[in-house]
């Protein structure tokens, strides 16, 4: 049971006490408990450590800690041993005994669990030497790996809630807003609207009751940065929210988080309970007289509910439909009252700005985009994971230095940023500095930080169609251009990818796109054409190949490709005959090439996948 803190002094005393209890020299095994590592079975690894430590009576010698996400999902489950920063990857429960016996007992390294640098081929011992982490600037995400997200004491021990105390006891609300404005922080959820300005408008908006809201409705396919932050360090988000509430003048706040994020929901709930018990949330926070309560609201998973007005409608218990924002939500938002909605990552930036000052914060990033940004680096890349980089880093650095380049030695083709409403950028733009304005100039956007890397086997026409199909399903259907327009675009893509495209199609797509951008009701429809427009802009030759030559250069669009047996190479082993689900391949006898009946072929490609002799061709 936590004892309530009645003053700033109490908080500092607790922090001192927690620090004293911490033994910096006692070995600490931290196991990543992020979503990616969960999928790899980190819970079993943690249990194995705990059981073994108990069995061997090593509790005095080592601490075991399940932490938030470390980011390097590709190599999970990740185990880092402190002090010493020893980095083990792909750890399985069977490795536990050896780690305890070697690294903890004898201070020696288990070589086979070390990460091997893909470029140099050398083994890397320490986390900070892993190239994946070297170019990152993990100011938001860094503490994830140090703390147990279910323990408020861990968060306080690393300096947590000091920013809140500073804000409440040393700063006037206007001063906080000035600091946030001066920091240049812009919304991490998509639009990149200046956060301080938004707070200021909300503070000045008439009304007694105002709301602050955390937008944790991250719905882009492939993006999971907000999820990991809320799972791995919920108190940093909560602390930012409380500071924002104090600055704007709110007594109530909401966390709108999708129900598909069970761990994020659970950890946020725990965080709220603990903060409440300690008197960091609720009535009379730290004895300051400031009251603020937060509720968690679980979203049903509609993509459109990430849009501010739709999110607020959903919070009100209505259908998640957006409305026109000619009157801004900072004036009339939730229940028609002034409301400030910020993304998870935006909120998590706030304590840092208060603690270290806006001047420090401004040293990171570019002229108009300050700070860092967390990206979900996924797709055809060697090191998938969550990366936090300073604004202004180039795409090339993210993809090659941090991401380790393209998987399987293939050639880079495009990178899609900003989720389904973002754009696909080509190789010629790899040296583009990543910030809000540069991405938008290139026809894409920051979005909530999805970054999907594609290689030469990706068809750009097919990709545009994929995103349209996603958006077609996720459109709320309220306004005509989004509801009908996306569907009509997708139909044109059906035609093109199935070999019935005509030369007028590209022009029609561009016209229809212009109407969606101009006249859709909300951001979903207004940005839906981005994947189409950017692929036309940068990969027009692929469209033309589909339309004029009825050919899919990447060999993806099924209607345009044909499989055939390369007779010289086929030894007649019959493996493809066995695997073909359509019985389209006939065995002709040993050492005789098999025969493929194209009329039965569904172009699933299994024959090519199983052939060891590369005897299946595709054209």
């Amino acid at each position: 049971m936590l004892t309530r803190l009645h003053s700033r002094k109490d908080l500092e005393a607790l922090r001192k006490e927690l620090m004293k209890r911490r033994q910096p020299d006692k070995p600490r095994i931290t196991i990543c408990g992020g979503t990616g590592c969960h999928a790899y079975g980190c819970v079993k690894v943690t249990d194995a450590f705990k059981n073994e430590v108990a069995k061997q009576g090593m509790e005095d010698k080592v601490d075991i800690k399940a932490t938030g996400c470390h980011g390097f999902c590709e190599k999970g489950p990740i185990v880092v041993i402190q002090p010493g920063d020893i980095f083990y990857q792909r750890v399985r429960p069977e490795d536990v005994l050896e780690i305890l016996g070697e690294t903890i007992a004898k201070n020696s390294i288990v070589e086979r669990l070390l990460y091997i640098d893909a470029v140099t081929g050398k083994k890397v011992r320490h986390q900070n030497e892993v190239p994946f982490y070297q170019k990152q600037e993990r100011i938001i995400f860094g503490s994830n790996g140090e703390i147990d997200p279910t323990s408020i004491e861990d968060y306080i021990a690393i300096g947590g809630y000091a920013a809140l105390a500073k804000a409440i006891f040393e700063m006037a609300p206007e001063q906080i807003i000035e600091e946030v404005k001066h920091s240049g922080l812009r919304g991490r959820g998509g639009g990149g609207f200046p956060t301080g300005g938004k707070w200021e408008s909300c503070r000045h908006a008439p009304g007694d009751i105002k709301y602050v809201i955390v937008n944790a409705d991250e719905g882009d396919p492939g993006a999971y940065a907000n999820r990991s932050l809320l799972e791995g360090n919920p108190h940093s988000v909560l602390e930012g929210l409380i500071i924002g509430a104090y600055a704007i003048g709110c007594r109530e706040g909401y966390v709108y988080v999708r129900h598909e994020y069970p761990l994020a929901v659970e950890n946020s709930r725990l965080a709220l309970d603990q903060a409440q018990q300690l008197g960091l949330l609720g009535e009379n926070i730290l004895g300051s007289g400031f009251n603020f309560n937060v509720r968690i609201n679980r979203g049903g998973g509609a993509f459109v509910c990430g849009e501010s007005t739709a999110l607020m409608a959903s919070l009100e218990g209505k259908v998640g439909e957006p409305r026109a924002k000619y009157v801004h939500t900072v004036e009339k938002g939730l229940w028609n009252r002034p409301s400030d909605l910020n993304n998870v990552e935006t909120w998590a930036n706030v304590p840092l700005i208060i603690n270290k000052g806006a001047d420090w914060y401004r040293t990171l990033g570019t002229e108009h985009s300050k700070g860092t940004k967390i990206f979900s680096l996924v797709g055809k890349i060697n090191n998938t994971g969550l990366v936090e980089v300073p604004m202004g880093i180039t795409l090339r650095e993210i993809i090659y230095d941090i991401g380790g380049g393209i998987r399987g030695g293939k050639k880079f083709k495009a990178v899609q940023t900003g989720g389904p409403s973002g754009g696909c950028l080509p190789e010629s733009l790899l040296d583009l500095p990543v910030d809000f304005d540069e991405l938008s100039k290139a026809g894409s956007m920051m979005g909530s930080g999805g970054m999907i890397v594609m290689d030469e086997t990706t068809c750009m026409v097919d990709i545009a169609k994929y995103f349209l199909t996603f958006l077609e399903e996720e459109s709320c259907g309220k306004c005509l251009p989004c509801r009908e327009g996306i569907k009509r675009m997708r139909q044109v893509f059906d035609e093109i990818t199935e070999g019935r495209g005509s030369e007028k199609d590209i022009e029609f797509l561009e016209q229809l796109s212009a109407t969606l951008v101009d006249s859709s009701l909300c951001g979903l429809g207004q940005t839906a054409p981005n994947p189409v427009l950017t692929t036309i802009r940068y990969f027009r030759d692929e469209y033309e190949a589909h339309i004029k030559e009825k050919r899919c250069p990447a060999g993806v669009c099924k209607a345009l490709i044909h499989y055939y047996i390369i007779e010289d190479k086929c030894p007649g082993c019959g493996l493809c005959v066995k695997e073909c689900p359509q019985e389209a391949i006939t065995f002709m006898g040993k050492k005789k090439p098999v025969v493929l009946d194209e009329s039965k072929c569904i172009k699933c490609g299994v024959c090519g996948d199983v052939c060891k002799m590369d005897a299946v061709g595709k054209r």
Partner: protein, 239 residues
């Protein structure tokens, strides 16, 4: 009062009025489908788009929702408005390719043939403006129907597609629908609204013997306004 400009003409209007309201008062034509003055503006059909500017930056907004501002310049027929509106009508026509109202609208816009391939044209009457649902909620006050599903499958419907239990048969949805998508019929003392799967017994006037309104609707009104039991025994014509 605010002073602003529509298509080069200066107007003054009260604060809080929408561009559409002022334009209509002044006899400037802006097409709409999902708008009705008795109902809160919704902004779904987007036909009422106009181009606005204040200073250098111009953008497209829906005039049914945008409130007039001091110094605003509004263009109801700029090339950008026209090309957008034409495309919107194209989309309407593709969905409701056989609907008379939509076909007429298209022809007024100079669209004789749809840009969409014939095999993709649909034969829908409803274009999901939501007027039926909003009238039922805001004017009638019973919310017997709602918009269900999302995206391309969104449509007005009765709860769980079962007969709409709360429907009073007033027919407001039928009267307000701009495209005739709601099918209603009065026959042999019965009113049927096919869309909501409901049937109502009509009340017979004690004087002329004509059937004049659904009994359930009259009962609803009688109770709501605390009227005497026999208040609706005689139809308005005979009263």
């Amino acid at each position: 009062m605010v002073t602003f400009n529509i298509d080069g003409r200066e107007f003054t209007a009260e604060e809080g009025q929408t561009i559409l309201q002022v334009a209509r008062e002044k006899g400037i034509d802006i097409p709409t489908l999902c708008h009705h003055e008795a109902i809160e503006p919704y902004g779904a059909c987007r036909l009422c788009i106009v181009e606005i500017s204040k200073g250098r930056r111009s953008r497209i907004v829906t005039s049914c929702l945008y409130l007039v501002e001091e110094g605003l310049e509004v263009k109801t027929n700029s090339p950008r408005v026209i090309s957008n509106r034409k495309m919107l009508v194209e989309l309407l026509l593709a969905r409701c390719s056989k609907n008379k109202v939509i076909k007429e609208l298209a022809s007024q816009m100079g669209i004789e043939q749809s840009m969409i391939k014939p095999e993709y044209l649909e034969d829908n009457d409803c274009m999901v403006c939501g007027l039926c649902v909003r009238t039922c909620e805001q004017v009638v006050g019973v919310s017997a129907i709602s918009l269900v599903n999302r995206g391309i499958t969104k449509e007005p419907a009765s709860p769980f597609l079962e007969p709409a239990r709360d429907c009073i048969g007033c027919g407001s949805c039928y009267y307000v629908c701009p495209t005739g998508a709601i099918k209603m019929e009065d026959r042999n003392g019965t009113r049927i609204i096919y869309n909501w799967k409901v049937e109502f017994k009509l009340k017979k006037c004690k004087v002329c013997g004509n059937y004049w309104a659904p009994e359930k609707q009259l009962e609803y009104i009688r109770k709501k306004w605390n009227l005497p039991d026999d208040f609706f025994d005689i139809c308005p014509t005979c009263k």
